[in-house]
């Protein structure tokens, strides 16, 4: 049998195996300590779902841990079986975290951290001081098969494994990707079909459910928990410290940090050789470690592990691919990508309208400034329509009006359906996809992940079903991956699928964004400054692809563009805006010959060169 794992994976497996074997030689006291460490690690992994995926900080995770533990003991005390106790702990904590997360619908960042602090205080001072909440005197009895410490330890390891799998599922399914989009490009996320509000609450619920499992595990370990036991603010801060030292987003880093920060002081009550008391030294050492971690390696233990892994793998991997799109035959590639156009939509939308997109007397006011005034235009099915005009003329504002990101008066109909008033996240499902001038994608993620993100509206499965991989989830995800591959190939980007988006040159990032919009299976593709960052040669190749998209995939395009040769070559019709109002429309050659257009957009020198600025 040939082992095809990358060296970093092999090293990781060997390390896990080594630790696992070593732990089996430990005595019962130490095993019991380890169960506590694992519970802490699970709680930290739950907190990390929030920190890494949504960028928000909670100072109430110790309170959540308490909610989980006390719920389990209450259920156990009423004579409920152990598994019911654990399930109840998970559900109750998820609910508590969702409630604590409600303010995130309106506020972000530091303010959120402070509102969670209020929840922590409430739980600490009120909930946990009530005997009916803490179930004093009652206890959760372990089932027979978990009586021995080694079995409880193995059960805890099993819980940890479940959480790790869950985190992985989160990363490869719709909800996890939606969290990232809301974190980095909240307004833009809506154009992928992500609804930010529910998405945030779901993140709190998942985070809470994981912490609830940790609480249930603690309850199983202790049997009963006295009110004097802490689920206090200090422990919340400790969880935050573990996530920071471990490195947000890195499961292995966080587990390692949990062992270092909560395991060591209990494991070695005296540090061998120097005979210092660990419970005094470790807080100081971990404080120093915390500072050192943030200063030296902002990505924490996880960052160090990633670097090591990368160095191990580099020897086995070839040189990096060129960061530019590869030349491909656009017509043949479009034929291969024909399936991208076949996207199921509601039947009622198949209306026989001549114009796919109709704007009627559209105005947009920002403050007292009219960014768009009384613009009426139409985009017919199967056409490439250019939108030109000086910087600040209102071109992007028009796109924002169509995608629901600007306050509009007037009417915008898409396939005959009125868009004004419908939420932005619904419009992508109607079939309008777009790109943004300053990138509406997540730079920290890979090219492929971003293409999956752009297809969020196509991932029609519920979050729970998705996380558990049930029903049609796996098939749907496979479809999304195939669509992403097709779109990447169409734009000559297949060799860059695994690269981090932010590492690519600007022009290439822009093409990735166009590919992502195409992958979303739109009827009309709205591209804001499509060729910015590209030289004449690449612009020309891009224009070939536009023609292929129109002719082979039957797409309709609306393109904001400054590159006149590209407009002249691909556009069937062109509109020119000036100070928010239309000043010209018609075939590109006619529009670019009009004196007003020359004055406001082309410039006389460029016009004299026949509209070829570069």
């Amino acid at each position: 049998m040939r082992l095809s794992l990358p060296p970093s994976r092999t090293a990781g497996l060997v390390a896990i195996g080594g630790v696992g074997l070593y732990s089996l030689t430990l005595d019962n006291v130490k095993l019991s300590i380890l169960v506590g460490v694992i519970a802490t690690a699970i709680a930290a992994l739950g907190l990390d779902v929030l920190v890494a995926r949504t960028g928000e900080l909670s100072l109430a995770h110790a309170a959540f841990l308490g909610v989980g533990a006390f719920t389990a003991i209450n259920v156990g005390g009423q004579g409920g079986p152990w598994y019911l106790a654990i399930l109840a702990a998970v559900a109750a904590t998820a609910a508590a975290a969702t409630v604590a997360g409600l303010p995130s619908l309106r506020i972000r960042g530091l303010q959120i951290a402070i509102t969670t602090l209020a929840f922590q205080e409430f739980a600490e001072k009120f909930l946990f001081s009530r005997q009916d909440v803490t179930a004093a005197g009652e206890s959760l009895t372990r089932p027979g098969f978990l009586r021995s410490d080694i079995r409880l330890y193995l059960f805890a390891v099993g819980c940890l494994a479940v959480v790790l799998v869950l985190r992985h599922r989160l990363a490869v399914t719709r909800p996890g990707r939606a969290f990232l989009a809301v974190r980095d490009v909240e307004a833009r996320a809506q154009s992928f079909g992500v609804d930010p509000g529910p998405s945030k609450l779901l993140a709190y619920a998942i985070s809470g459910a994981i912490v609830g499992l940790a609480g249930g595990l603690l309850a199983l370990k202790e049997g009963s928990i006295s009110a004097k036991d802490p689920f206090e603010l200090l422990q919340s801060l400790e969880l935050v410290a573990i996530v920071v030292v471990g490195g947000a987003g890195s499961a292995s880093g966080i587990v390692a940090a949990s062992v270092a920060i909560t395991g060591f002081p209990q494991f070695f009550s005296r540090i061998p050789l120097v005979h210092l008391r660990a419970d005094r030294v470790v807080p100081i050492a971990s404080a120093a470690l915390l500072v050192a971690a943030i200063v030296g390696q902002p990505e924490g233990v996880g960052g160090v592990l990633r670097l090591l892994g990368r160095q191990l793998d580099r020897r086995s991997r070839g040189p990096r691919p060129p960061p530019r799109p590869l030349p491909t035959d656009p017509v043949a590639a479009a034929h291969r990508a024909a399936a991208l156009g076949r996207v199921p939509r509601g039947l009622s939308l198949r209306l026989p309208v001549r114009a796919l997109l109709e704007a009627d007397d559209v105005s947009v006011q920002y403050g007292g400034v009219a960014a768009l005034s009384h613009v009426s235009l139409e985009v017919r099915r199967g056409e490439i329509v250019g939108l030109i005009g000086a910087n600040g003329a209102g071109k992007s504002t028009f796109f924002n009006a169509v995608s629901g990101l600007a306050p509009v008066t007037g009417s915008i109909r898409f396939r005959g359906v009125e868009l004004v008033g419908s939420p932005p996240s619904r419009r992508s499902a109607l079939g309008a996809a777009r790109t943004f001038q300053d990138m509406g994608l997540v730079r920290a993620e890979t090219v492929k992940e971003n293409l999956l993100l752009a297809q969020t509206w196509l991932a029609r499965y519920g979050p729970l079903v998705g996380l558990l991989g049930l029903g049609s989830t796996l098939r749907l995800e496979r479809d999304l991956r195939r669509r992403a591959d097709m779109a990447l190939e169409l734009f000559g980007l297949d060799h860059l699928a695994g690269e981090r988006l932010g590492d690519l040159p600007y022009g290439t990032m822009r093409i990735v964004e166009i590919a992502a919009a195409v992958a979303a299976g739109p009827d009309v593709l709205m591209l804001d400054e499509a060729s910015a960052g590209l030289g004449p040669e690449e612009s020309h190749a891009l224009a070939d692809r536009f023609l292929a998209l129109r002719d082979e995939l039957g797409l309709t395009l609306m393109v904001i563009e400054h590159h006149v040769p590209l407009i002249a070559r691909v556009c069937d019709y062109t509109y020119c805006l000036e100070s928010g109002a239309l000043i010209a429309e018609g075939p590109p050659a006619e529009v670019t010959a009009q004196p007003e257009v020359i004055a406001s957009f082309l410039g006389r020198a460029a016009a004299a060169r026949g509209g070829a600025p570069s």
């Binding site: 400054h562 410039g603 460029a606």
Partner: protein, 247 residues
């Protein structure tokens, strides 16, 4: 005869394991405009990041006024008279136009000089004066590019590095941006390095270098810059025409 104000020799650098620059050499003489041409992914932005100390140098030298400043961070370079207009304009979107310009003058301690810089800046860019209380994030693309150039000029640099001034600008605005850069060069004698893929930049340039796959592969000066412009345009068109069949 003075030597070059900025001299880059055999520069090599990259991101982590990925080497992007293999051998980049060029120089800028006092008071001249030099164009560094290259297509998407050729290493243009990487060159500027390396010169301004934002990336680790793997080899080669950067000299400012003959002094070795290889790996010197941007905040030191700006005090020594080198100013950068970054790609994507690098606006502080939440700050007003005025506040952005104040930041540009951060290294100047003399208040009267700052006031003079403001006056000059607003004179050259009247639209910025009109919008001085507006947040930079609400400006249009062209206005942001003007602000980026104006901000870089606030520190009274002797050499100005401009990363793709034409990016995202309409043709007429591109001309305006190049005009403003040309004027700063003529009136204040500021040496300029224009890093571009728009061959229009060669209209301004006294000398030019061509960057390809992290290496300088061609250079021209005087009348040869014009022939280079024709050659680049021809090369692009030729390859583009071939690309019409194969991509």
């Amino acid at each position: 005869m003075t030597g070059p104000i900025l001299e880059v020799q055999g520069l090599r650098s990259g991101y982590g394991a990925l080497q992007v620059l293999f051998d980049v050499s060029f120089d800028v003489l006092p008071g001249e405009i030099v164009a560094l041409m290259g297509s998407n992914g050729a290493g243009k932005t990487t060159t500027l990041k390396t010169v301004t100390g934002q990336l680790r140098v793997l080899g080669g030298h950067v000299r400012l006024d003959g002094d070795d400043v290889t790996g010197t961070p941007a905040e030191v370079l700006v005090r020594r008279g080198l100013s950068l207009v970054p790609e994507g304009r690098g606006m502080l979107r939440q700050l007003t136009v005025q506040q952005n310009l104040e930041l540009g003058a951060y290294v100047i301690d003399d208040r009267s000089k700052v006031a003079a810089a403001f006056e000059q800046g607003y004179q050259a860019f009247p639209i910025l004066y009109e919008r001085r209380e507006q947040r930079a994030g609400t400006l249009s693309g062209g206005q942001q590019q003007m602000l980026a150039i104006a901000r870089a000029l606030m520190s009274a640099p002797r050499v100005l590095l401009v990363d793709e001034a034409s990016l995202g600008l309409s043709p007429v605005m591109t001309e305006t941006a190049f005009d403003l850069i040309g004027r700063a060069n003529r009136t204040a004698g500021i040496a300029v390095l224009l890093v571009e893929q728009n061959v229009l930049a060669l209209d301004l340039a006294d000398r030019a270098f061509v960057l390809e796959k992290g290496q300088v592969v061609d250079r021209a000066e005087g009348p040869a810059v014009r022939t280079m412009q024709g050659r680049l345009r021809q090369a692009y068109l030729g390859r583009a025409a071939a690309g019409g069949r194969t991509g």
